[in-house]
Symmetry: D2
């Protein structure tokens, strides 16, 4: 699924640049931790000000990193003169989002000239390194010509 | 659809209390602006540090207020000794999330003892008061007994 | 939401024609029962050979009429030289699909040149005429130029 | 993900029995072709009376086999005295559903006492045996005690 060829040789720089412009990533403390053709990871350390009423990471914040990871996984396969936007996504929250660090791992399922279908798994890592799948997203991204 | 009877007469106080415990709502600057049986609004003023790469509100933040509104709309119909969690949701991003203020309006579609199906529309209001539908969510919430 | 203007004055004939070509509609016994700009109903009488293991209409058949209704609601707003395809949809099954007749009522939420976002509610009608909402779908259709 | 232990040692017989009671499977010509703990395949040969307006398998029929495969994958992990129902699912239609045979391969992502999250990929096989992923579903099933 992942041996996908980027149309834009500078895809990694373009994604890093776009990520820096996502002001909300900096507010949340999220980092871009992997960028390959069709595959992007975003990592978010736990912070008490990102939580819901039980002290776990809010489902919307889980979704925020999963959505950006999906968008950039799709973007990595788009031509140089394009923009990416989320059309829609669906996420299942599988377990309470508790942990020290959260990683959203997105992967393109089906590239396309206009629409790109992407999946992201979100893992929570405990202090001892144990990882647990806490959410899974399936979504659709669109390629817009600048 | 909305003439739903709350099982917990103090549902509004319980929701206000839970909302205060969602630390992320305070980080984002979101407010609970309507609480009725089966219907909840959450309002979020635009802030530059909540944006994606084009300067619009990030889809994940749109989703965060829609998810909390859905959760509390469902919670308003649950018994006193219960908790609410998001099982899953799907959101379509319909237009760029630009505006002065954003309102997520959630409404219960189908109450149930265990699962509650909810919809939320998210509107962006311009400075001149014009409102535009920018996103719509359909999701499932679960009632957990404490 | 529904005062939408069709770009193709013969949209109703084009939809009726396309519906006749959906061989599966005839296999299931489904009929096109309402065609307006942005709004389409498909009606399906109950039949024992359309059921799942408890004798209710199979969720996939509920989905089949909801998907076609969504596709044609979107198609009603598309230009003459276009085709419609389903990109994706999500459906919540709200109640057991029992009844004499099922109606999927689709409505365009957000028209667009390429993508059209649509919702469908599916109702079951009992012999005495009482209607119950049994499912609700939210989906995305794409306009392809011929 | 798949080394899941069935709670009901006769899960395979129970699924085969339930499948035979899904009258619509027989109408469509679908067969249960793999039953393992947490994993179920359903196979459907192409038939002209299952098509949409372009002569491809209708998205609703693709969905019907994916939904049943998901339901039975979840059911394989449920206790003996239970029933399974679809709560909701979302499907992306990735490519035109053309081929000689279609296989929906479902796999449990997250088992649970009440809710089970499942994924299904649907493949189309051409006469020469080449397989193509045409759709992917993510859904939620519920376990009901009899």
């Amino acid at each position: 699924m992942n041996r996908m060829k980027p149309l834009n040789p500078s895809y990694a720089a373009k994604i890093a640049d776009s990520f820096r412009q996502q002001a909300v990533m900096s507010l949340l403390g999220a980092k871009l931790t992997r960028v390959e053709p069709g595959v992007v990871d975003i990592t978010l350390p736990f912070r008490a000000d990102l939580t819901q009423q039980h002290g776990y990471l809010h489902a919307g914040i889980v979704t925020t990193i999963a959505d950006s990871a999906c968008g950039y996984a799709a973007f990595s396969l788009m031509p140089a003169d394009s923009e990416v936007l989320s059309v829609e996504f669906k996420i299942n929250l599988l377990r309470p989002a508790r942990g020290e660090t959260f990683v959203a791992r997105a992967e393109v399922i089906k590239p396309g000239r206009t629409l790109v279908v992407v999946r992201a798994d979100v893992f929570a890592a405990a202090e001892n390194g144990a990882e647990e799948l806490i959410a899974t997203m399936q979504g659709t991204m669109i390629c817009l010509k600048k």
